[in-house]
């Protein structure tokens, strides 16, 4: 896949991938859930699977961890084929597929003990470590059925981290977490990737979340990998295309004034202002035009929706392709 090759260049090319998906396909009956999906994940990066619900993100994850055999293609984790060397491959992996389903009738501690026993070499001390890491020390001896969704999510992360995996796969990890919890998880995953060199794969249908968390985002639609985008945060965004929000008293007059400057400054208008995609140099001009038109400016702020743009652009392009194929 072209996108994959591009990424190799941007991520210093000499690293070997920890996860390789090669031409994965999954069919149920005549329906193709996943199509020719190829991807490489490198140590120390956080990769996002972004796509609408039902795009096939979870099926890809299930194939990655051997829960579902692919109809075609191969999965390698740490160089081991998940089909022929399942145990060696899974030794590298910590995973939560969909919701973290734990044994509700047991305490959190017993759940951790249960999963720890399945991998040789995990000490009781390690169980305490991961408990502390996810901040469940106070409740760890309570039954899981008394936990909130967020606490279960954290217990799920704890069990996935027990054996210090080189790949951590989290399916919709922020489900049920409150904003503070999401922030904690994000910070933790970033630290894990940076300090331990753990490769983290997260799936989500929420753009904003992916943008804050990930280094790269794989955009998935209808079972296919559309493209892989690097997420660069706010720093080196293209200076020629900033999405700015102008908070003004008369949005439609303001937008009109901006349009008069350049027909490319199209923006969406809401009741409090309008957005406009402009080069940085043009911001003072627009401000001036607004003042001259008698529109009151309350604030001008940048919107980091570069990923959303990319996502929408990618999915739109694909639907054109689909149309083209149809004819």
């Amino acid at each position: 896949m072209v996108a994959g090759q591009n990424e190799r260049v941007t991520l210093n090319g000499c690293r070997t991938p920890i996860v390789e998906l090669k031409n994965l396909s999954k069919r149920y009956g005549g329906r193709e859930i996943v199509r020719d999906f190829s991807l490489e994940v490198f140590p120390g990066e956080i990769l996002g699977f972004l796509g609408p619900n039902g795009a096939g993100k979870t099926t890809v994850i299930r194939m990655m961890v051997g829960l579902v055999p692919p109809s075609e293609g191969e999965v390698f984790v740490g160089g081991c084929n998940i089909r022929t060397q399942r145990s060696q491959a899974l030794r590298h992996v910590g995973v939560i597929v969909e919701n973290p389903e734990m044994y509700k009738y047991m305490s959190g501690y017993k759940n951790l003990l249960h999963f720890a026993r399945m991998i040789p070499g995990i000490t009781k001390q390690r169980i305490q470590e991961v408990t502390k890491l996810v901040g469940l020390e106070d409740r760890i001896h309570d039954k899981v059925k008394t936990y909130s969704l967020g606490m279960r999510q954290r217990l799920g992360v704890a069990q996935a981290l027990l054996h210090n995996p080189s790949v951590l796969i989290l399916d919709e990890p922020t489900n049920g977490l409150d904003p503070a919890g999401i922030r904690d998880l994000r910070d933790y995953l970033k630290r894990l990737a940076r300090d331990n060199g753990t490769a983290v794969i997260v799936s989500s249908h929420m753009l904003s979340e992916m943008e804050l968390m990930c280094d790269r985002v794989a955009i998935i639609q209808q079972g296919a990998l559309l493209e892989i985008q690097s997420v660069t945060g706010g720093q080196d965004v293209n200076r020629d295309r900033l999405e700015m929000y102008f908070e003004v008293d008369r949005p439609s007059d303001g937008a009109e004034a901006a349009l008069r400057l350049s027909p490319e400054f199209v923006g969406r208008i809401d009741s409090n202002g309008f957005t406009s995609i402009v080069p940085k140099d043009s911001i003072p001009e627009i401000a001036e035009a607004l003042v001259q038109a008698g529109v009151k400016i309350y604030s001008i702020s940048e919107r980091y929706t570069s990923l959303e743009d990319k996502f929408l652009a990618a999915t739109r392009r694909n639907s054109h392709h689909a149309d083209a194929f149809a004819h």
């Binding site: 829960l67 969909e98 026993r117 399945m118």
Partner: protein
Amino acid sequence: MLMLSLIRNENMKMFSRPRSWIFILLILAAVMLPVFASFVNQDDPAPWRDQLEQENAGFRTAIDTVESEPERQRLEERIAINEYRLSHDIPPYQSPWAIVNELSFLIPMVALFTAITAAEAVAGEFAGGTIKMLLTRPVSRWKVLLSKYFGSLFFSAILLAILFLSSLTIGVARHGFAGLSDPYLFVVDGSVQERSMLLHCLQLYALKSVHLLVIVTFAFMISTVFRGVNLAIVTTVILLLSGDLIVFMLSDYPWVKYLFFANADLSQYMAGGEAALPGMSLPFSVAVLAVYYVIFMTISWAVFTKREVAAF
């Protein structure tokens, strides 16, 4: 080593559920009930010799009116045993073993509880979604399944041991240690034979354990084939409870003796016992059960190791 850890996991899960403890309490209660009931009825102070004489007199008058040959034979055997007791000074039912022997009628209860537990073993993990967590560990699927199987067997062994020990405890409480060496009496070819009561009870339990083993395996197969817990439990329990009825209703057909249920209870072949259907013997039943066992195991393994753990 890993297998041991996996089995410990199964036990931890088993005994973390209130259900398992309720089963144990129910068995203890069932063991106690008949004993308390018979304490109440223990008002008859008549010496056991007089009782046996009376019993025999009753049997003798009955024997003349009985038409069927097997019934007559049964009565004759009881008379012979009573006379043997009188002449050898062995009082009836004064031994703790006699209570163990009598309370072994509760073993089907153990079978029922075990079947429910085994039927839930695999289906429960699927229903709860925990199967995803279980099968994404670096442990092969067959090891996971084997540990669950051993876990179910272990639980049935525990229930059986509890039944045996609590029966024995009650027996000792009732009759003291004195009767522990009393013999078990049975009739072979018209003559009364003696054997150790302990041996008799252990043999009874051992033969019933084969029954349990096959039932657990059967329930386990149902559990791997069906994903729903309730479906698995209901199917198992219905087949378990209706087994004797099915055999009875079909007993006119010659192939009925190849049915799993007709052969499941090997204690029918115990000393003095008789096969339920003509043409059956202990080796025959063992062979039939072995074939079923292999079939059940093969299906469980084939289904579990191949199954896709897709979305629910």
